[in-house]
C-alpha cells in the first residue's frame, strides 16, 4: 500500500526486488557454502585417513600416533607390491570382473533386445521376472549358493566366482539395457528390417552402435560390482594363487592383528580401478544409473 502511494512506484518496486534478491542470494550462498563444506569434510576425511595411514611408518601408526605425517615413507607400498602376491590378486580380480562383465552384457543385451523389440507371448511375465530376480534379497540366496558352489567343486576357481557374480550382474545389466533400448526409436530399425536385415544384424548393426555410450556405462557398473564383491571371494577362494584382491587383503589380517599400513596401501591400489572408472564415466553416472532404475 505504501508503495502504491508513492509516485515512483515502479523504481521502488524494482529496487525492492533487487534488495530481496540480494538478501536471498546471501542466504542462499551462505547455506550452500556451509552445507557443502560439512558434506565435503564428512565425505573426504576417511580418504585422508587412508592416505595418511599408508604413508606413516609403523612406529608412527602405533604407540606414538599423531594426526600429522611426520616421517612419510613408502615402505607399506613396497611391502604390498614386492612381498605379497598383490599383482597376482590384482590380475585375478581383473580376469574375474572382466569375464563377468562380458558374459553379463552378452546375456543382457540379447535379452533386452527381445524384450523391447520383439513381440511374443510372455513378454510381460518375463519383464516382471527380470525385476523380481533383480530384487531378490541376496541374503536368501547366500546360504544355498554357498552350499551349491561347494558341492559342485567351484571353490578355488575363477570360474566359480564368475558364475556366482552372474547372479547379481545379469538381471542388473538386462534391466538397465531394457530401459535404454526403450528410448531408441523403432523407426531407425524398421528401414533396415525392410531392406531384409534379420533381427540379429539389426541388433548388431543398428541398436548396439546407437546404445554404445549407455552400454559402456552399464558395463562399467557391472565391472565395479564384480570388482567390489568380497564375501564370496573370501569364502570360495582359499588358494593363494587364485585369490582376488579382497581375499588377498584379508590375508593381511592375522586373527585380530591388522597390518593397517599395508592394508591401507593396498586399499589405495585396489580402489584405483573403480575410482578411475567412476571419474571417467562421471558425466553419465547420474543420467545412466538413475535413468535405468527410474525415469525422472
Amino acid at each position: 500500500m505504501a508503495v502504491a502511494a508513492r509516485p515512483n512506484a515502479a523504481t521502488e518496486a524494482r529496487s525492492s526486488t533487487v534488495r530481496t534478491w540480494a538478501a536471498k542470494h546471501g542466504i542462499r550462498t551462505a547455506v550452500l557454502v556451509v552445507g557443502l563444506t560439512i558434506f565435503t569434510v564428512w565425505t573426504l576425511f576417511p580418504f585422508l585417513w587412508i592416505i595418511e595411514t599408508s604413508l606413516k611408518p609403523n612406529k608412527d601408526l602405533y604407540g606414538d600416533a599423531s594426526l600429522i605425517v611426520k616421517h612419510p615413507t613408502l615402505t607399506h607400498y613396497d611391502y604390498v607390491l614386492n612381498k605379497t602376491k598383490f599383482f597376482t590378486y590384482f590380475k585375478n580380480s581383473l580376469f574375474v570382473s572382466v569375464s563377468t562383465t562380458i558374459i553379463a552384457m552378452f546375456i543382457g543385451i540379447l535379452a533386452a533386445y527381445a524384450m523391447t523389440r520383439l513381440s511374443f507371448r510372455g513378454r510381460t511375465v518375463m519383464a516382471r521376472t527380470i525385476i523380481v530376480t533383480y530384487l531378490v534379497p541376496g541374503s536368501l540366496l547366500f546360504i544355498p549358493v554357498f552350499q551349491i558352489a561347494s558341492n559342485l567343486q567351484l571353490t578355488n576357481k575363477a570360474s566359480g566366482l564368475i558364475i556366482v557374480y552372474l547372479i547379481g550382474t545379469v538381471p542388473f545389466c538386462t534391466w538397465l539395457a531394457i530401459s535404454y533400448f526403450n528410448t531408441i526409436p523403432t523407426e531407425l530399425e524398421d528401414a533396415a528390417l525392410v531392406d531384409g536385415a534379420n533381427r540379429f544384424q539389426s541388433l548388431v548393426q543398428i541398436i548396439i552402435p546407437l546404445a554404445l555410450p549407455a552400454l559402456a556405462v552399464i558395463a562399467l557398473f557391472a565391472f565395479t560390482q564384480s570388482w567390489n564383491e568380497f564375501l564370496f571371494a573370501l569364502l570360495l577362494i582359499g588358494r593363494d594363487s587364485e585369490k582376488t584382491v579382497p581375499a588377498g587383503l584379508a590375508g593381511l589380517i592375522n586373527g585380530d592383528v591388522f597390518q593397517w599400513g599395508a592394508l591401507m596401501a593396498s586399499s589405495i591400489i585396489a580402489s584405483l580401478p573403480p575410482i578411475l572408472i567412476y571419474i571417467a564415466s562421471q558425466r553419465w553416472v547420474v543420467s545412466g544409473l538413475a535413468g535405468g532404475a527410474v525415469k525422472g
Binding site: F39, T40, T43, L44, W49, P144, F146, V170, S271
Partner: protein
C-alpha cells in the same frame, strides 16, 4: 488325401498364423535371444531360491548328509531355547539398523541433491567429490572405518578426542554394545547417501524450470516451492529409491561382517548376519540358517511387489 499337399502353402500360412497368434509374432527369435537369460535365472536364481526353502526343512551340516525335519528349524527359531532369543533380537536389530539408515540416507541425500542442483561454480567437481564414497569398494570402506573406529589411541576418532579435545578415556566405538550399532549405521550412511543423491538429482533435472519460475512469480518462497513442486515431482523417484535401498540395506552384511561380525553380544546381529553366523561362520547348520532367511522373505515380498509394479509402469511410460 492326395489333395492335401497342394494346399500345403496355405496350410503352412495357417499353421504359422496359428503359432503367431498363440505365441506372438517373433516368438521363435525372441526366446532364442532370451535363452541365456532364462538359463541364468533358472539355474542361478530360481534353483538356489528353491534350495533355500528345501534346506530350511532339513537338518544339514556343511558337508554332511541332509535329513528332513519338517518345520523343526522354524520352531527352533521361533520358540526353541537355543535360537529364539537371538532370533527375536535380530528382528529388532534389523529393524533399527535398516530403519535408521534409510531415514537418514533419504534426508541427507535430499539435502545433498538440493545443493548440488543449484547452479554454482565448481558444481561438477563438487558432485564428483560427494559421490566418491559410492565408487569405493565396500570392503575397503569397511576396513577404513574399522581403523577410524579403532579402540586404541591410534584410531582416528580416539586420536582426535585425546589430541584435540583433551579427553582421557578411550571410546570403544565397535566393542561397546551401546555404541556399536550406531557406529555401523554411520558407515552405511557414509557410503549409501550418494546413491540417493544421484537418484534425486536425476529426478530434479527432469522437473521443468518453468514450474519454479511460475511459482516464484506467485510469490512462493523456497520452502513452498520445495513442498509444492520438488517433492511431488520426486515422489516416484523417492519411493523407488527408498524401497530399493531398504531391500539392499536390510540384506547386506558387508559392513557388519568386517566391522563387528554381529557383536559385541549380538548388538549388531541383523538377520542376514545371523543366518551367516549360524550357517557358515559358526555352527554350520545350513538348515537353520536357511530358515532365518526364509522367515524374513515375506517382509521383502511386499517391497518387491510394490517396486515391480512401479518399475514396470515407468517402463511402459518410456
Amino acid at each position: 488325401m492326395a489333395v492335401l499337399p497342394r494346399v500345403a502353402p496355405s496350410g503352412e500360412v495357417f499353421t504359422r498364423s496359428w503359432a503367431t497368434r498363440t505365441f506372438g509374432r517373433d516368438w521363435k527369435i525372441a526366446w532364442l535371444f532370451l535363452t541365456p537369460l532364462v538359463i541364468v535365472l533358472v539355474g542361478l536364481i530360481a534353483y538356489p531360491f528353491i534350495s533355500a526353502v528345501v534346506l530350511s526343512t532339513q537338518h544339514k551340516v556343511v558337508g554332511g548328509p541332509a535329513t528332513w525335519v519338517g518345520l523343526d528349524n522354524y520352531r527352533d527359531l521361533l520358540i526353541g531355547k537355543q535360537y529364539s532369543e537371538i532370533f527375536r533380537n535380530s528382528v529388532w536389530v534389523s529393524l533399527l539398523y535398516t530403519g535408521v539408515s534409510v531415514c537418514i540416507k533419504v534426508v541427507l541425500g535430499m539435502c545433498m541433491a538440493l545443493m548440488l542442483n543449484e547452479k554454482f561454480r565448481g558444481r561438477t567437481v563438487m558432485r564428483a567429490i560427494l559421490f566418491l564414497p559410492w565408487a569405493m569398494p565396500t570392503l575397503i570402506v569397511a576396513l577404513t572405518w574399522r581403523w577410524i573406529y579403532d579402540g586404541t589411541p591410534n584410531g582416528l576418532l580416539n586420536l582426535l578426542r585425546i589430541d584435540y579435545f583433551g579427553s582421557k578415556e578411550l571410546v570403544q566405538w565397535l566393542a561397546n554394545p551401546h555404541i556399536a550399532l550406531w557406529s555401523v549405521i554411520a558407515v552405511v550412511i557414509w557410503q549409501g547417501t550418494p546413491f540417493y543423491t544421484m537418484m534425486f538429482l536425476a529426478g530434479m533435472q527432469a522437473i521443468p524450470q518453468e514450474q519454479y519460475e511460475a511459482a516464484s512469480m506467485d510469490g512462493a518462497n523456497v520452502f513452498r516451492r520445495f513442498a509444492s513442486i520438488t517433492l511431488p515431482s520426486l515422489k516416484p523417484v523417492l519411493i523407488i529409491t527408498t524401497l530399493l535401498s531398504t531391500i539392499w540395506t536390510a540384506n547386506s552384511i558387508n559392513f557388519i561382517y568386517v566391522l563387528t561380525k554381529g557383536g559385541p553380544g549380538n548388538a549388531t546381529m541383523t538377520f542376514p548376519m545371523l543366518a551367516f553366523q549360524i550357517g557358515i561362520d559358526g555352527a554350520r547348520q545350513l538348515g537353520t540358517a536357511a530358515a532365518v532367511s526364509v522367515l524374513f522373505f515375506p517382509v521383502f515380498i511386499i517391497a518387491i511387489f510394490l517396486l515391480t509394479k512401479r518399475m514396470l509402469a515407468q517402463e511402459e511410460r518410456a
